[in-house]
């Protein structure tokens, strides 16, 4: 089921590309016309050159950050969904666990990240943990809501079949929670990238966050912007992958393109 037909979709993609292109052109024109120094705002063409010229370095950094973000997202999602299942089966635990989850969620990421770096070093592990800490909450809240909001008519039916909790969970509650899981992933996916980058700022041996940090301390703005471009692109790609997967997994729900 498609909310937008294919031709419309190609058309709106085209419009988005044109807008991005025009913005870059305008940016280039202003930088040249006002002769803005490169340490304030580099022209898109220079950023492009920097990116292409150092493509190997950027690719390596992107691989590190993407791995951290995706592994963190995986850990956060499994923890969040696992806790949601636990709470739906034992509702008595809900108040206690949710209080703890809100506590973890409310502690500023910037405050924990340096600590984890001190304790666990400059490798990927602290970044994965930070990413997981930031992404598990939206998954927990949404999946729990999905498990609890299964269609009462379906639950009635299964009760008249004298079904056990396990059968009801497997055939009603779990599938009912899937659309909610994807809503959570659409928030948590891009968030995972931000979390990994911010965690790298507190000290890392590789990754886009580290690249940005080095570029910033050297006032190498073309380098900094190149990293930002890559991050924005990676964010769009991660989001797109989640939407693609959603359409295939939750095929019974009419989903929007976004």
């Amino acid at each position: 089921m498609k909310a937008v037909p294919d031709t419309d979709q190609t058309q709106s993609n085209g419009i988005a590309l044109v807008i991005v292109g025009l913005t870059l052109l305008l940016w280039e024109a202003i930088v040249r016309w006002r002769a803005i120094p490169v340490y304030i705002l580099p022209a898109p063409s220079l950023i492009g050159q920097t990116l292409v010229g150092n493509i190997g370095l950027f690719a390596e950094a992107t691989a590190v950050t993407l791995s951290e973000a995706l592994l963190g997202l995986l850990l956060g999602t499994t923890t969040g969904a696992g806790l949601a299942v636990l709470l739906s089966l034992w509702p008595r635990l809900e108040r206690g666990v949710m209080t703890l989850a809100i506590l973890v969620k409310s502690t500023p990421l910037v405050a924990i990240a340096p600590l984890l770096t001190i304790w666990l070093g400059f490798g990927m592990i602290p970044k994965i943990i930070i990413t997981a800490l930031l992404t598990f909450f939206p998954v927990l809240v949404n999946v729990l809501a999905g498990l609890q909001r299964a269609d009462p008519a379906m639950l009635d039916l299964f009760h008249t079949w004298h079904s056990g909790r396990r059968e009801i969970f497997r055939h009603v509650r779990a599938p009912s929670a899937l659309p909610y899981l994807f809503t959570a992933l659409k928030i948590a996916g891009p968030l995972a990238l931000i979390a990994a980058v911010v965690a790298e700022w507190t000290g890392a041996s590789g990754g886009l966050g580290r690249t940005m940090w080095l570029a910033y301390t050297n006032l190498n703005l073309p380098y900094l912007f190149a990293a930002i471009f890559i991050l924005a692109f990676a964010g769009v790609m991660v989001y797109g992958a989640i939407v693609w997967l959603e359409k295939r997994v939750v095929f019974w729900q009419p989903t929007s393109q976004f």
Binding site: D151, T160, W161
Partner: protein
């Protein structure tokens, strides 16, 4: 399977106040009988059915389904339930929706394909319920009822959301299936003519708190001709009892 109800009363608690819904209901329904329940909307028709299906525990009174209380009847898989919302599982195909009921209920006298053929959905075995029309979805729900091979069918306005024509066709098909399997049917409806067309007996219920106002037997051969004077007399009798029910 016989159903006996004695002194059944039920109250809901709404905002801390007790709201009586059913008041001293007494009923005897014979095995294989098709009984229609009609009454003003908001009366306790659905509540009564939910109590029989063990989805609700009554405040007081006795319910006996073939010698067992509702909990035992459900545990012994004697009850089949169908409501206006067909509650099909959209993540499974029509075939798998049937197969699942059979697996849960431990019935395998028919294959899912046979049951889909019975309700005219043979060509849609691999379709998902959300791709079917409203009438076809109710057909699938009907096939699911057949798959259970239950002795009692509790049907809470199953075709209320359908258009008149589909509704008439489906009630006709349902009647044929009932005549083959002969379960005891409790059929809740708003339609007087539908009740007269289907049932052996029409029970007219009063507004809340619900009591049985009239018990109208319909001893006409099936299929029933709605244009005959006898049929019209039955309709008039039900309507008269319903008018009485209006405050």
């Amino acid at each position: 399977m016989n159903i006996t109800i004695r002194g059944l009363s039920h109250q809901f608690k709404v905002n801390g106040r007790l709201l009586p819904v059913l008041r001293d209901i007494n009923l005897n329904i014979a095995a294989g009988e098709f009984v229609a329940l009609v009454g003003p909307s908001g009366c306790g028709k659905s509540t009564l059915l939910r109590i029989l299906a063990h989805l609700l525990t009554p405040t007081s009174g006795l319910v006996d389904i073939g010698g067992a209380d509702p909990a035992t009847a459900v545990a012994h898989k004697r009850i089949a339930w169908m409501a206006q919302n067909p509650a099909l599982l959209p993540w499974y195909t029509t075939h798998d929706n049937i197969a699942l009921v059979q697996r849960i209920n431990g019935t395998n006298h028919h294959t899912p394909a046979d049951l889909l053929a019975l309700v005219g959905l043979s060509d849609f075995a691999d379709a998902h319920p959300f791709t079917l029309s409203g009438g076809m979805q109710q057909r699938l729900a009907l096939a699911r009822i057949l798959a259970q091979q239950a002795a009692v069918w509790l049907m809470d306005e199953p075709f209320a959301a359908l258009d008149e024509l589909t509704r008439e066709r489906l009630t006709g098909e349902l009647l044929a299936l009932w005549q083959q399997q002969r379960p005891t049917v409790l059929w809740v409806t708003h339609h007087i003519t539908e009740a007269a067309r289907l049932a052996d007996r029409v029970l007219v219920l009063s507004p809340r708190p619900t009591a049985v106002l009239a018990d109208v037997p319909v001893s006409l051969p099936r299929p029933r001709d709605e244009t005959t004077a006898e049929f019209q007399a039955v309709v008039r009798a039900i309507r008269a009892a319903l008018m009485q029910a209006e405050p």
